[in-house]
């Protein structure tokens, strides 16, 4: 059961690597059915936090509840209900897109699902038996998104998912993400370097600086307070209010 309707609720997360605190006292709150835009400068800790939320890294301290379950003690239950794309995606290069998704579904214990519909959603239905090794960067990214959503997860954790996509594909993915939330009841935690992109789709913005989420604000509030929208807000937060966009 979700506590307070939060699909992701992390409190006081800390992660140290070789004695160095990379994430400190970090908290995140993502309500169900919303898109959370995760912003922060390079090296602020976005990927590390996402890895902790997907059980790839173990927090040194703090708790992370995903879909109301503890990611450490109920890892497998959480993993079967979330879809993720973190860092550069890897595939079984000698197999086709369809076969890659079929294998993914088998590991997710959902062999009965048909992956062809999802391939169509991301614009890869034409690839047929073509092995993934021949795919372009953009096609690989589309396939990675397809793999994240093919098992119909309740939560998507996407780290820079639009990297390598052309403007047309970025727009297609924007529509896709919105439809996944509105029509399929998913929630999304998404990070991106492109501020305007998050402005289009996010309901909530969380900004991480030096390993701590320093603020979480709804997009409506940001747009009401800042004339230039998210970019102005982002620069205000990251520069301590001394500079605006």
């Amino acid at each position: 059961m979700l506590s307070n309707g939060m699909i992701v609720e992390a409190k006081g997360l800390v992660k140290t690597f070789a004695g160095r605190e990379v994430i400190r006292n970090c908290s995140i709150h993502l309500p169900q059915g919303k898109i959370y835009g995760f912003l922060g400068p390079n090296g602020a800790g976005k990927t590390t936090v996402m890895k902790m939320l997907t059980g790839l890294l173990k927090p040194t301290a703090g708790t992370a509840k995903v879909l109301g379950m503890d990611i450490l003690t109920q890892r497998d239950q959480v993993l079967s209900r979330i879809g993720s794309l973190i860092e550069v995606p890897v595939f079984f290069e000698h197999l086709s897109a369809q076969k890659n998704l079929d294998l993914h579904l088998a590991y997710m214990n959902m062999e009965e699902r048909d992956a062809s519909q999802v391939l169509e959603m991301v614009g890869l239905s034409h690839t047929g038996q073509q092995p993934v090794s021949t795919f372009s960067l953009g096609m690989r990214q589309r396939l990675a998104i397809a793999r994240a959503i093919v098992h119909k997860p309740q939560l998507l954790i996407l780290d820079e998912p639009i990297n390598g996509l052309d403007p047309l594909a970025i727009r297609e993915m924007r529509v896709l993400f919105k439809s996944l939330v509105n029509d399929h009841g998913m929630s999304i935690l998404i990070s991106s370097h492109i501020i305007s992109e998050l402005e289009y789709i996010a309901d909530i913005i969380g900004i991480i600086l030096n390993g701590t989420v320093v603020c979480e604000e709804t997009m409506t509030d940001i747009q009401a307070q800042f004339e230039n929208g998210l970019e102005e807000y982002f620069f205000k937060v990251t520069n301590g209010g001394t500079e605006s966009a």
Partner: protein, 232 residues
């Protein structure tokens, strides 16, 4: 477990390793005729008896299959638990220990079957032609075959344990060459130990038990390690 092994089979290009096993086997056929013929021509006494020829061929077979097995372990285990591949592996809602065990079972069963066929078939072909057109001046007997089978069994156990230990070394260093070089070095040590113990059944039994315990320990330790492993 059956499903996990089946999925591993789909993910990896096992037919490449089948081809490699056939090539090794063909190489051994050529090798066994070569040493028998050269020994006759050069009057080399060590290789004018079937037991020695068979033993030498089996040892060479063990070395070849150990290296093949290490290459497969590198692809199926070492590379899967390094870098971005690990991110994919760990996002499956599958018990990590079971996943690793499925991989190890796949590789060890494949290596075992490949080595049984790859070692026995060349010896059989050679024995058949020897009974019609002999190169070696020695007598083939059923006893020789039975003792060869037990030697091959010990060598198969050795090859499996060697490649497991080599894989464990490669796993730490995240390196395929480290696994292959370790495999080669371990072959030299274990191979000599096996040859040295062949005349003493008790010693051979002790050696086999030690190898099985060593292999099992490597698997258990690696399963524990994978269970608590984190990504980079």
């Amino acid at each position: 477990m059956h499903k996990l092994i089946r999925l591993e089979l789909q993910r990896h290009r096992m037919h490449t390793y089948v081809k490699a096993s056939i090539l090794i086997s063909l190489g051994l056929v050529v090798f066994i005729y070569f040493i028998s013929y050269v020994a006759q021509v050069e009057k080399e006494p060590d290789f004018q008896t079937y037991p020695n020829i068979f033993l030498f061929t089996s040892i060479i077979s063990m070395i070849c299959f150990c290296i093949l097995s290490s290459v497969i372990y590198s692809r199926v285990v070492i590379e899967e638990y390094a870098g971005n591949r690990l991110l994919l592996l760990f996002t499956y809602p599958v018990n990590r220990k079971k996943m690793l065990l499925a991989k190890i079972i796949l590789v060890s069963v494949f290596s075992m079957v490949a080595m049984i066929l790859g070692s026995i078939v060349p010896l059989l072909i050679f024995s058949v032609t020897e009974s019609f057109v002999p190169i070696v001046n020695d007598r083939l007997s059923l006893d020789l075959f039975i003792s060869m089978l037990s030697t091959i069994f010990v060598l198969i156990v050795s090859a499996n344990v060697i490649s497991l230990i080599a894989m464990r070394i490669g796993f730490v260093r995240k390196s395929t060459p480290a696994a292959i070089v370790s495999s080669f070095l371990l072959c030299a040590i274990v191979g000599n130990a096996v040859i040295g113990s062949l005349q003493n059944s008790l010693l051979l039994l002790v050696l086999t038990v030690i190898l099985i315990v060593a292999g099992t320990s490597v698997v258990i330790e690696l399963m524990q390690r994978v269970h608590t492993m984190e990504t980079d």
